[in-house]
Amino acid sequence: MKSTEQVSHSALGAGARLRMALRVFWGAFLFGRKGLIVWDSWEMWVMQIVITPIAQIGFFALLSIYLQYPSSVTQYIVVGNAIQSMSFAAVFAVANITSQDKWQGTLPSTMVTPANRIALFIGRAWFQVLLSALIAAAGLLYAATIFGVSFATADYLGIAVTVLLTSVAMTGFGLLISAVGLYMRTAMIVANIFLFVTLLLSGVNFPVSVLPAWLQPASWAIPLTYGTQAVRMAIAGSSLTALLPTLGWEALDALLVMGAGYVLFTGFENLSRKTGRFEEY
């Protein structure tokens, strides 16, 4: 058998490193298609894309009807929940990456490789970006067809860009929580709480202005808050240009979240190496 020539990692040029990172990203993406949750049956797809979004939207819509709010409020709530329904796939499933790796015993094997961490984990999560965007799009479809939200003046380009950007941004939040999972026993409980928090703080069921003033900055730290706002504007007819300020803030927020995620990741990776917690689940 021929031996492969080993080249020192640090001796590689920037181009070679980028190619390696892209290769890691693509490999991780293909793995992430199947690796995160069991998507190998039609029941799971139906559950995630049909049943759960309709149930969530329906719950809050019915609550609004029971409270005898005007239909504009009900529609506000429906659209907010349609977008928020992406959170399970974008946040929860992504936050599970490190926990699942720990449980399977593959985290040490992964962390011992020289693979670029950003490429690796973003690659794993990227499938969830696509899936969560699909779920949000399905949610908006149900809003129109089941819950009577009018899309007569909607700007579909604005909606599409908002949904995709929010999906990327919320997945970034999932990766941030996943970094916590490197050190804590499980990130899932934190992710679970975060899902509740988005219901409260992200303008899903009521405007952020309803919240106490001291709580509102927390709302604007969550990308979903901008997403719900932008989607409502787009449905009402605002063009993509008009959405840019909101989307700009969301993009900036997403970058900050991802930056924080990277810092946390590196910090927790080092901490786990010191304390030997890569295998504790």
């Binding site: 058998m1 190998d40 049956s41 039609w42 504790e280």
Partner: protein
């Protein structure tokens, strides 16, 4: 409760046992049927230490699962202590203890003591008895001083000893040990084997599956070799070794031997089989041949100049040699 009538001296009786696994596609249609067991027959006498050996995927674990009532057979019969595995599940489970090899099977976030108390209750051990028996078990397996620690802090060897304690907590008549020494260091494995001997001396019947031929040879009174779902041989280790009595084994220990050298040896006339471990700094090559010492000069002359033989021994064939012949033919 159904009772199989003949042969009350048998702890385990397996008759034409077959097991098929069905794999299904995305939409639930059958895509493949795999036969894991293909009509196997064997029996284990009361008080015997019986070994079941075979390569990965041969059907050992499937056999164990059927006998321990965790899996039903597709066809055939199996009786444990005279009880039918299909019908008398709970009575069988009350009277057998099982050790699954490996890290899983314990509640890692609670202590060894809590694990044993839990399983003791599940197996219906009288609480007053358990109060005495559990500490005795922990002492017997060498875990008494760490009984209150979470199992997740235990080494692999310690977990395996706890598995043994767990299997014994309800004083079973039959023990099924599924690869109990897998992954253990030599000291830990030796401790487990000593415990197995001791359990047999207590009158327990033991069914042991293992990859380690020397372990089967050392412990078992009889061994069944299973390959591709069929029993290919069943006898005492010494009788099984007679299957290869026509050969001797040359064992070489070398520096610098490569796969090329092994291929050359394989092509020599009268070489029956070559098993080589080339991964270590010192390689071990076992050559089976009827020529025995007469083959040595050919083997030595075939050695490349940059390699060196540091030791050569002519050995009697072992159970492993017999096993290799049985599973590879």
């Amino acid at each position: 409760m159904s009772q199989h009538s003949p042969n009350s001296g048998l702890a385990v009786e397996v008759i034409a046992l077959t097991r098929e696994y069905t794999t299904r596609s995305f939409f639930g249609t059958v895509s493949r049927i795999t036969k894991a067991l293909d009509g196997i027959d064997f029996s284990v006498k009361t008080g015997e230490l019986f070994g079941l050996i075979g390569p990965n995927g041969a059907g050992k674990t499937t056999t164990v699962k059927i006998l321990t009532t965790l899996l039903t057979q597709t066809s055939g019969e199996a009786y444990i202590l005279g009880l039918d595995v299909r019908k008398d599940l709970y009575e069988i489970r009350r009277r057998i203890g099982i050790v699954f090899g490996g890290e899983r099977g314990l509640y890692n976030r609670v202590s060894a003591l809590d694990n044993l108390r839990y399983f003791s209750d599940l197996y219906g051990v009288d609480p007053v008895t358990a109060r005495d028996r559990i500490p005795q078990l922990l002492k017997a397996v060498g875990l008494a001083d760490r009984a209150d620690e979470r199992v997740e802090k235990y080494s692999r060897g310690m977990k395996q000893r706890l598995h043994i304690a767990k299997a014994l907590v309800h004083d079973p008549e039959l023990l099924v040990l599924d690869e109990p020494t897998i992954g253990l260091d030599p000291g830990g494995a030796r401790d487990i084997r000593n415990m197995i001997r001791e359990m047999q001396k207590q009158g327990k019947t033991i069914l042991l599956t293992t990859h380690y031929m020397f372990e089967a040879e050392e412990l078992c009174q009889r061994v069944a070799v299973i390959s591709k779902g069929k029993i290919v041989a069943l006898d005492t280790p010494s009788e099984l070794k007679k299957l290869v009595r026509d050969i001797s084994v040359i064992e070489l220990r070398t520096y610098g031997a490569t796969t090329d050298y092994v291929e050359v040896i394989k092509r020599l006339p009268n070489v029956v089989r070559v098993v080589a471990d080339l991964d270590s700094e010192v390689q071990t090559i076992r050559i089976q041949s009827p020529l025995g010492a007469d083959l040595l000069s050919q083997v030595t002359s075939a050695l490349p100049s940059d390699a060196k033989i540091i030791d050569r021994t002519i050995k009697e064939p072992t159970l492993e040699d017999a096993y290799l012949r049985l599973v590879e033919e």
